[in-house]
């Protein structure tokens, strides 16, 4: 075995994050680490690389016991890591990020030219031709993610760890990353791969280890598992209905709820028309950077529209700011939950009631008992894994944070809810749960705008799908045409380029 972990234990106040976990990694294998949100995957990785101090357990690499006290030490021992969410430094250039800590030097000073050259070299396998001298922060999340992967790969002499590296990538980019990973496997590296996309797990990995509630449940060869069994291991029960198949689309014409006419903003999204029916789920599809988030932000007043207007049949809507949009009954679960969603040091309770309280105004505080009731209710309904409602939300695992943000908006009961990548980083169980919730909400009359990179998800829940390309709404698919193939074609720009615009 290349890497052996024995009875690794880590306790946070109130949470046993890891409970005597064993884990083996062979050279030349890709090993999936799976589990629900909050199962302890990221914690295991951080303990392994010295980012957290572990409470107990031993780590052996290549036969020698190691005890990295910091990520630098882990790197020096040949362990390269892409951490979940915390990625790279947006204020440094791409080249600086890639080469950080091992910059080429001449006479003791950094040799900028060699730095750039080596950085470009590092990026080459990923087919990314970008200006490495620009700040990383000026690139999209996807590009940042690939840069992070490239850096980790370059650092990993023996072990490469990828914690949900593909969460914000689309299909083509995922393929590229996988090619690189396979190449490394050939070279005899051990690779740990964390993901909630089971398809990717089956596609790429050789073995699977499942964690649940901080305990190791099982390690098996991927080939010997099937989807249902794997999910059972993860959840500890069978999943009633997995996300698949078509939404039960009714042909019935829904009464229109909202109408956007010529809505747009220069340099952000070209003017578009959109009608949303009562109780309808409208999907937004497109490649990364196609302008989906921007469209959503426009509708919620994050960046106010410069042209066009919105109405609900009776009157014109004021969507000049999030507050105005909320007053019109809008809700918005943002894509970047860390910067736009959570208020990290506030408790789960406070995060959930924040929107409700803001709408009520500062003078009328929601009574504490009421707050507790609301928080407990949603913690139960959305199955948020926490030791209590007073835990700071920043200490939750990524997926559970996402659920808490969702709870914030559900508690406000909007008539139109915008969900931007609501299932990113969410485990299969919760994934199904959220899609079930969407259905339930629409049945109760709520209209939903669903932005998603997962076409299956759109097919499963959307009544209608708008496809975006280059910041333009280029196609609208409805009824029986909401299928994976059709959406893919529209995204690629093959079929029905014209004529279908805002049909």
């Amino acid at each position: 075995m290349l890497l052996t972990i024995r009875s690794l234990t880590k306790t946070f106040p109130g949470t046993q994050a890891l409970d005597a976990v064993d884990f083996d990694l062979a050279a030349g294998e890709v090993h999936a680490l799976l589990g629900e949100n909050g199962a302890g995957k990221s914690t295991l990785i951080k303990c392994l690389t010295g980012a957290y101090r572990r409470d107990g357990g031993t780590i052996t690499l290549d036969g020698a016991t190691i005890d990295p006290q910091s990520t630098v030490e882990a790197q020096e021992q040949g362990i390269g890591t892409v951490y979940q969410e915390v990625n790279l430094l947006p204020n440094l250039t791409v080249a600086q990020n890639l080469m950080f800590g091992r910059e080429p030097r001449r006479w003791g000073l950094i040799d900028s030219r060699a730095l750039r050259a080596e950085a470009r070299e590092t990026l080459r396998p990923y087919g990314l031709d970008i200006d490495v001298d620009r700040d990383l922060g000026s690139y999209s999340v996807a590009i940042q993610q690939i840069v992070a992967i490239a850096r980790a790969v370059a650092l990993s002499g023996k072990v490469l760890i990828l914690d949900e590296p593909t969460a914000s990538l689309d299909a083509a980019e995922v393929r590229m990353v996988f090619d690189v990973v396979r190449g490394l496997r050939e070279r005899g590296l051990g690779i740990v791969f964390v993901s909630h996309f089971l398809d990717q797990v089956f596609d790429l990995t050789d073995r699977v280890t499942v964690l649940r509630n901080g305990r190791k449940i099982v390690t098996e060869r991927t080939a010997e598992l099937d989807r249902v069994k794997l999910i059972e291991h993860m959840l500890g029960r069978a999943l009633e209905h997995e996300v698949a198949g078509q939404a039960a689309r009714t042909a019935a014409v829904r009464p229109p709820l909202l109408e956007f006419r010529g809505f747009g903003r220069r340099g952000v999204v070209e003017p578009f028309d959109l009608t949303v029916g009562q109780g309808e789920v409208v999907g937004l599809a497109g490649l990364l950077g196609s302008g989906r988030t921007e469209s959503a932000e426009l509708m919620f007043g994050v960046r106010p529209a410069q042209s066009g207007e919105a109405s609900d049949g009776q009157s014109r809507l004021d969507l000049s700011s999030p507050r105005a949009a909320i007053a019109e009954g809008f809700g918005f679960v943002p894509e970047e939950r860390k910067t736009d969603g959570i208020v990290a040091e506030l408790s789960i309770r406070e995060n959930i009631i924040l929107g409700l309280q803001a709408r009520r105004g500062w003078a009328r505080r929601i009574p504490r008992a009421e707050q507790n009731r609301i928080a407990d209710d949603y913690i139960k309904r959305l199955d948020i894994r926490t030791s209590g409602r007073e835990k700071p939300i920043g200490e939750l695992s990524g997926g559970n944070q996402q659920k808490a943000i969702l709870a914030r908006w559900l508690a406000m009961n909007p008539r139109f809810l915008i969900l931007d990548e609501p299932t990113r980083g969410i485990d299969v169980g919760a994934h199904a749960e959220i899609l079930r919730l969407i259905r339930e909400l629409t049945q109760a009359g709520m209209s939903i705008l669903l932005v998603s990179s997962e076409i299956d998800e759109l097919v499963a829940s959307a009544d209608r799908v708008i496809v975006l390309r280059d910041r333009r709404h280029v196609a609208e698919l409805d009824g029986p045409r909401v299928t994976g193939a059709e959406i893919m074609r529209a995204i690629a720009g093959g079929a029905g380029r014209d004529g279908e615009v805002a049909a």
Binding site: S70, Q75, Y83, N91, T93, G101, L109, I110, R134
Partner: protein
């Protein structure tokens, strides 16, 4: 064009524009004499601002520097008065002392996770208090070596003087540029300013870097103290009160973000010269009462910052539209 350098360009453009405006009103301002003065009079500020830039880039702040400059002057003057040590030896002692002082503050900031603002505020009280304890009186420095240092200048055409301390300041800025932009330590500083948690995960030795940053600032403050003592030929415990704020303002005008992680050392030089230009303009004008002087300095500061912000927005939207 690289967007990260935009604040720097904005700063330079505004400075040149301001100089032009001053020149239109007072043609004298373009003489080598005034330019030489600008360098000499702001030498101590420029040096201390170099240290401050690095601290701010790392996401911290150092409020102690003004007091450390005063302490340095008093220390040098008292030691030279009491002993027969050569000034160069005293300089070495002093620099070791101020560097250690900076490092100690860095240690507290890192190890005890205390905010830099507060630790260096205490450092500010401490250094000033130490200066008082050395001597309350202002102490003249009579050592002949000081005369040599003071009269070391190159007479530029037009009777302007390029003094030794002005040159030291320029060299310090140069050294600062190398440290910030050309060393791994500098890269770590930017990384820390960009985000501590991320920087740690990327392999920055946070403790070491923090300590070094404040040690560097202490070193610069000590050097600035030496320059200041040459400039005034004495040590005085009440000197340079509030210089830390001037230095911070210069760094900010120079386009460095107070939250850390973004900025250029060269911008700081321009920022310092801008502060000097404001001073010079007010003296040349010579009609402002004591209170209007303060108001005008504040207003000019605001105008510079607003112009910078405006210019930045403009060019960014240009870029966005062009892209």
């Amino acid at each position: 064009m690289n967007t990260r350098a935009l604040p720097l360009y904005a700063t330079v453009v505004i400075f040149l524009l301001a100089y032009l405006l001053c020149w239109l009103q007072f043609p004298n301002i373009l003489s080598t004499r005034v330019m030489g003065n600008l360098l000499t009079d702001n030498a101590y500020l420029g040096i201390v601002a170099v240290g401050m830039t690095l601290v701010i880039l790392s996401g911290g702040i150092d409020l102690s520097v003004g007091s450390v400059i005063a302490f340095s002057g008093v220390f040098i003057a008292v030691i030279l008065r009491e002993t027969s040590l050569h000034p160069l030896v005293v300089f070495a002692l002093l620099l070791a002392l101020t560097t250690a002082f900076g490092a100690a503050m860095g240690f507290l900031i890192d190890r005890l996770a205390m905010p830099a603002f507060i630790v260096t505020l205490a450092g500010m009280f401490l250094a000033r208090g130490a200066a008082y304890m050395l001597s309350i009186d202002s102490v003249p420095i009579a050592h002949p070596f000081y005369k040599t240092l003071q009269s070391a200048y190159w007479l530029m055409p037009g009777k302007g003087r390029l003094t030794l301390i002005g040159v030291v300041m320029l060299l310090t800025v140069l050294a600062g540029m190398v440290v910030a932009h050309k060393t791994r330590f500098g890269a770590s500083v930017y990384a820390l300013g960009g985000g501590e948690a991320t920087a740690r995960l990327m392999g920055v030795r946070q403790g070491r870097t923090t300590m070094l940053v404040y040690a560097f600032s202490g070193l610069m403050a000590g050097l600035s103290g030496i320059v200041f003592s040459i400039y005034t030929g004495s040590g005085y415990s009440l000197a340079t009160v509030g210089t830390e704020l001037t230095a911070i303002a210069a760094v900010v005008i120079g386009g460095t973000l107070l939250t850390g992680g973004a900025g250029y050392m060269f911008g700081t030089l321009v920022g310092v010269l801008t502060m000097g230009l404001i001073q010079t303009y007010i003296v040349f004008d010579g009609t402002l009462s004591s209170w209007w002087t303060k108001i005008v300095i504040g207003v000019l500061l605001l105008v510079f910052i607003l112009l910078q912000k405006g210019l930045l927005k403009l060019s960014q939207s240009r870029l966005a539209a062009g892209a």
